[in-house]
């Protein structure tokens, strides 16, 4: 009896540590990216725009740690400033998706019936397009700009968040505190804001961390295709596109933005997984 209890306690501690490890590694990588984005002016050794034709396409050196590009701009500085664009785009896009999806999901579940039917069919329509195709279509119709990139990526996220919000809301609606809220005369809007929203927000925030990684990838893809950040504005996507032309002479031009993207996406994914595990009641045993 006693040994069983001790055994299960030890088991719990092991899972706790694993949960922490994911959160720690993910959080560390995300912290680096966010720090670079916020303090790019101070972190970057050079300006990302300054041309220096004399030192173009140089390999890594003491002066330029990660080399220079085809017009002599410092690759490290450009990668650091690109983090700013990526984080900005991801932040706005995830915000649009999170807020839009949450409102639609809660509305659909709360009112049910034909409202639910119509909203969810609309969401499935959006879902049925491949994400990158939808983003390209939206960009083509909205016009090429970084703001439109944020918006189109955000719209892509709406269906996912709305489904999650709807499922969580359906769960909450079965709870007695919703009935109790009605017995004290609460109206629909107040029930949604005060009773439902705080009880569905946790899974949505976990999803937001994962969506963040995806938003970074989508922004890079759009910029790679020339639809996102416009040169000379540095973005991992358009840096990668430039690097593609110098694969033989200057491989660092492809490797640097690629690695930056990889570490950033890995960080957000690990953070998302860590958060999910931390909030998952099934793993708490």
């Amino acid at each position: 009896m006693i040994s069983a209890a001790v055994g299960s306690a030890g088991h719990r501690r092991r899972i706790n540590w694993r949960r922490w490890r994911l959160l720690a590694i993910g959080g560390f990588l995300v912290a680096i990216v966010v720090f670079c984005a916020v303090f790019a002016n101070f972190v970057a050794p050079y300006s990302p725009y300054d041309l220096d034709v004399a030192s173009m396409l140089q390999g890594p050196s003491a002066a330029h740690w990660l080399g220079t590009d085809e017009v002599g701009r410092d690759e490290l500085s450009r990668a650091i400033f690109a983090a700013r664009i990526s984080v900005e785009v991801a932040l706005v896009a995830v915000g649009v998706g999170l807020i839009g999806g949450t409102i639609i999901g809660i509305f659909a579940a709360y009112f049910g019936g034909w409202i639910d039917l119509a909203l969810m069919r609309l969401m499935e329509l959006l879902f049925s397009f491949p994400a990158i195709l939808l983003a390209v279509i939206l960009m083509a119709s909205l016009g090429t700009s970084i703001l439109n990139a944020m918006l189109s990526i955000g719209i892509i996220f709406i269906p996912g968040f709305s489904r999650l919000a709807r499922a969580a809301t359906n769960d909450v609606l079965r709870q007695q505190y919703i009935d109790a809220a009605r017995t004290i005369g609460m109206g629909d809007a107040r029930i949604m804001m005060r009773e439902i929203l705080p009880n569905v927000v946790t899974p949505l925030l976990v999803e937001a961390a994962v969506a963040f990684a995806y938003a970074v990838l989508l922004e890079s893809a759009l910029s790679f295709l020339g639809l996102g950040a416009q040169p000379p504005e540095p973005s991992w996507g358009n840096m990668l596109n430039t690097g593609r032309g110098f694969m033989g002479q200057a491989p660092w031009l492809g490797i640097v933005p690629g690695m930056a993207m990889f570490l950033c996406v890995l960080g957000f994914n690990l953070l998302g997984d860590g958060l999910r595990d931390a909030f998952d009641p099934h793993l708490r045993e």
């Binding site: 007695q176 109790a180 809220a181 017995t183 004290i184 005369g185 005060r194 009880n199």
Partner: protein
């Protein structure tokens, strides 16, 4: 104990008159409340007793306007403080809830929002109905918690519902119900989920609220003991109808309906040593297949030919009525024969 007698100088806090509620189901029209009349006068605690499925909770929901979507009031009238509220529009109904009628549910923990602090929830009715600013609403919540005898109300108000014990949660629900001094308090089995000792404290609190505020209380339960201890008047419900009603001491002294008699006998007490626990054989009829005559006939040991038609409320003694043909049998057998 001295029972308060019905003071009829003011209109009744609640008057339900021949209410019929129907639900359309796949298996036919279910009559979940059938010809129910019920009154609660100011300062009175009225008990409604019945098995699960007898329609007691549905009665409460119908007057709050919170019935399931497919249920509708087919006939009858509901008056709150003399004002007809039977077919009020939703928005007007909503304004009544929490301000003039309060509802105390069975399971307080599940009725409290797990992510909001207690003071925000107890202060909520004031904010909803009177637009009281939050800082004042929260201060008022502390006062209310003190009024329901919660220890350390200032501290407790800042805690979350799961940090409360069952009795404290129920006190918090009662405090929320009292927030705007409603004229009617509906308590739906508020003590079922509690320990017996805590149960007694909650009942005492309800009686105290009635005495100090003159609040009318409609107390729904399946526990006869609680009715005997707390209520002034009692309605016995079965399959959606009231089978017997009257002042508590009269009804307990002379139960006239066989169902009430069996309920009383099935309640174990210390004095009556029973070799085995009694139960009533059979089941409550489904609301969509009610028998044509008396709805208790199938389970009734005294069934006779009259039971094929539905009995009206017949007088047992002053203010005490029961729906059973046996009453005519014993009192005026001759008239019954003459009438037929």
């Amino acid at each position: 104990m001295v029972r308060t007698h019905r003071r009829k100088d003011r209109p009744p806090s609640l008057a339900i008159d021949r209410l019929r509620v129907e639900i359309a189901t796949r298996r036919g029209l279910a009559r979940v409340i059938d010809d129910v009349s019920l009154e609660v006068w100011p300062g009175e605690i009225v008990g409604v007793i019945g098995e699960s499925g007898s329609g007691k909770t549905m009665t409460a929901l119908s007057l709050l306007g919170l019935m399931p979507r497919r249920a509708k009031i087919a006939a009858g009238e509901i008056k709150l403080g003399g004002e007809v509220i039977t077919h009020l529009p939703d928005a007007a109904r909503r304004r009544l809830r929490g301000s003039r009628v309060a509802f105390i549910p069975q399971d307080a923990l599940r009725a409290l929002n797990p992510v909001l602090r207690v003071d925000l929830q107890v202060g909520e009715p004031a904010n909803i109905h009177r637009q009281t600013p939050w800082d004042q609403a929260k201060a008022r919540a502390v006062e209310l918690l003190r009024a329901v005898h919660l220890k350390d109300p200032e501290q407790r108000a800042r805690e979350y519902p799961h940090q409360f014990s069952g009795g404290m949660q129920q006190r918090a629900m009662i405090a929320m119900g009292l927030a705007l001094e409603p004229e009617l308090l509906i308590a739906d089995e508020p003590t079922t989920a509690l320990d017996v000792t805590v149960q007694a404290q909650v009942l005492k609190l309800l009686r105290e609220i009635r005495d100090s505020h003159g609040t009318a209380i409609l107390f729904i339960t399946h526990d006869l003991g609680v009715i005997a201890e707390l209520c002034d008047w009692v309605y016995v419900m079965y399959a959606g109808a009231v089978l017997e009603q009257g002042p508590v001491e009269r009804l307990f002294a002379h139960p006239a309906h066989p169902y009430t008699q069996m309920l009383l006998r099935a309640t174990p007490t210390v004095r009556t040593v029973q070799s085995e626990l009694l139960s009533i054989p059979g089941q409550i009829p489904q609301p969509f297949e009610l028998p044509a005559g008396c709805r208790f006939a199938d389970r009734c040991p005294h069934r006779f030919e009259h039971c094929a038609s539905e009995p009206p409320h017949l007088q047992v003694e002053a203010e005490h009525t029961a729906r059973c043909w046996l009453l005519t049998e014993s009192i005026t057998a001759a008239t019954a024969v003459a009438a037929s």
